[in-house]
Symmetry: C2
Subunit: 400 residues, 2 copies
């Protein structure tokens, strides 16, 4: 039970809200901010002035509007000056990026990762190197306000420790702490589950913008998920919520890496598709999945049957999630984007049978708009959390 906020808390809240608005929506006129935020003109002016002085936004003429008359000034995030580092630890790749306020990717480094057991050195070393390279290239007047990583595994909310992951079994890696030490920027590195962060990214900047109840399904070598419930990411008691890949859909089904059988991941993951298509071998990953979908398109009967089989289980999984969450949208991302596009009819037909009518009548099925960058964009948003919550305080700390 919370008491009402003080005037200073209200001001901080409003500063954060204004910054968040231009961060997510881009350059916005004062008039529009006034109407969107429900504050009066003088308050918006004062807030904008504070943020401008801090170097977080600036006011400028809008790009050509095509309308006659004097254009009003727009408030624009200082994307080139204020930035975060976003990291993505995927199964097949490592990515690091410098992302400006407003979500602009300013710089980026990527390397292929060999599949296999996780080792901290093999992951943290290259990522820290990328960050150092990018940091050296920044101008002196820029300021880093946060850092975060998307990790393909289960991440405890309390301490950011990675507890489990595909090909990793049960582990206990204090990944954020280790990255923070290696980056040496004096900043903590927040860590989140990759599918959770991708869900947030699609909700904030992707196909699910404006959608408050959304289920995001992410296919990598495994299947992860992120669920937005009434505009907020479902975390659960310890932060492991949204592990929809380990929902059992076929109790007599294929063995899963988690020790169970017939998990969604076991039935619709990369390996399930490639094996059903008779193509499981040295060639795995996204290209191998695309090859199956392309073969099915060309009329390859085995590939078609494999996609149908996988689409059937995918549809059952989606139906279960529709009954449980009654989402407005289900988004297919990562490798599941390809699989959904190749088996949409199968997925929809399962939905019709297995999802309750009223729960699916307004449902939209969509593919990720951010594509393979969804996890990275999500990590950047996680890194921006603090500065958007309390802009002046974070900037003062970062600048000191």
């Amino acid at each position: 039970m919370r008491a009402g906020p003080s005037q200073e808390e209200i001001r901080r809240h409003n500063l954060g809200a204004l910054l968040r608005h231009v961060h997510l929506s881009g350059p916005t006129s004062r008039a529009e901010l006034t109407s969107r935020m429900g504050l009066n003109r003088s308050t918006i002016m004062a807030l904008t002035a504070d943020l401008t002085t801090a170097g977080l936004v600036r006011e400028e003429l809008p790009r050509e509007t095509g309308r006659a008359g004097r254009p009003s000034l727009v408030v624009r995030p200082e994307s080139a000056r204020v930035y975060v580092f976003a990291l993505d630890v995927g199964v097949d790749r490592l990515v690091a990026a410098r992302v400006g306020l407003g979500g602009t990717i300013l710089d980026r480094r990527e390397t292929v990762r060999r599949r296999g057991p996780f080792s901290l050195e093999e992951v943290a070393g290259p990522l820290a190197g990328f960050v150092r390279q990018m940091h050296r290239k920044t101008r002196p007047d820029t300021v880093c306000v946060g850092a975060a990583a998307a990790f393909s595994g289960g991440v405890a909310r309390q301490d950011g420790v990675v507890r489990f992951g595909p090909n990793m079994g049960s582990v206990d890696v204090p990944f954020g702490e280790e990255m923070s030490r290696r980056l040496g920027l004096g900043l903590p590195v927040a860590v989140g589950n990759d599918a959770n962060l991708a869900a947030m990214a699609e909700h904030l900047r992707g196909v699910g913008a404006g959608c408050r109840d959304l289920v995001y399904l992410h296919g990598d070598v495994g299947v992860g998920g992120g669920v937005i419930v009434n505009g907020t990411l479902l975390g659960g008691h310890q932060g492991f919520g949204g592990e929809v890949g380990h929902m059992v859909v076929n109790p007599d089904g294929r063995p899963c890496g988690c020790g169970s059988h017939g998990c969604l991941e076991a039935e619709v993951g990369e390996r399930a598709l490639l094996e059903a298509a008779g193509r499981f071998g040295p060639q795995v990953g996204r290209d191998a999945v695309r090859a199956v979908v392309a073969a099915a398109d060309r009329g390859d009967i085995v590939a078609q049957a494999a996609l149908n089989r996988v689409g059937d289980w995918l549809g059952l999984g989606v139906a279960n999630l529709v009954n449980v969450f009654n989402p407005e949208m289900v988004v297919f991302g990562g490798m599941l984007r390809e699989i959904y596009l190749g088996s949409a009819a199968q997925v929809r037909s399962r939905l019709t049978v297995d999802a309750l009518g009223p729960a699916r009548e307004h449902l939209r099925l969509r593919t990720s708009a951010l594509g393979d960058d969804a996890t990275l964009v999500g990590a950047a948003e996680l890194a921006f959390t603090q500065v958007l919550a309390d802009p002046l305080e974070v900037l003062a700390r970062a600048g000191s």
Copy 2:
């Protein structure tokens, strides 16, 4: 994006918060309110004075504390004066109650309901009669501040229309509107899904008090659910969220009333248990379920096998929900209370195999503390929503 609140909004918020506190926690000293709400003594005094003048609370000496010295006054909800009507439309019964602020059931009427197709007349008639009887018995200085019904079916959030239910198929019943008309109290009747409301009741006043992430499973003739995510009831896009009974756990399984196969409801519902025990016949309902559990306790091998079978599917369903929600607690209510108590070992053994280790390491499995009253208590809480949000406004309207 919301602007900061005005002083008047803060006062209303605090009035509601104080009232909510004594409503849920019972008589509380001013000193404790001061510390719990993080407000200073004079603010608490002013808020208490306002609520006292409105007749919502009163201050009085506490019951014997056993401690020496002058006891400090406690703030107590005016349970006998301020009340709501709570209705419960179950499959086998209809209940109406008058519930005082603070959650005290002041009066109560109940009748058996014959199973079968839903008819508005057969349900609304008796309930309206009960409410009129109870209303006639109230003293003139009492005030009714709300009314709500728990309905064993899917209820659209937007308009409170019941869209589907067990034994009902797809329907479109404006139940709340109809009840409001029949009660003639000049009050709207809010309607919620029974399992959703029971989940809220267990979260606020039952075994899940203090627990912010909770999955409640409710067995009636069907299986419903309610999920509390970070302290808030999961509604989903249209309010149909939490229909965990229609999560498919066994795709080759028993046909379900919804048209699918192997839904949790089809595998662990009353009929599944009674058929597996060779006892499906004219005797159905809670007593028939209890008889199976009792027989298994006495060593009846057929009853034991039936409970094991049902417990196995129940465990698989719970494991799926643990992976998806990472709850702190799973609560078994309604008829599932008996089934869980009779098959706990089976449920736990499934959980160990099918739920991810980190997601279940802090998990508690519990049975409903409110028992068969959980849905009714939940309906009462729904009915109290308005007065707790804006006490003086609602009371002024109710008194006028």
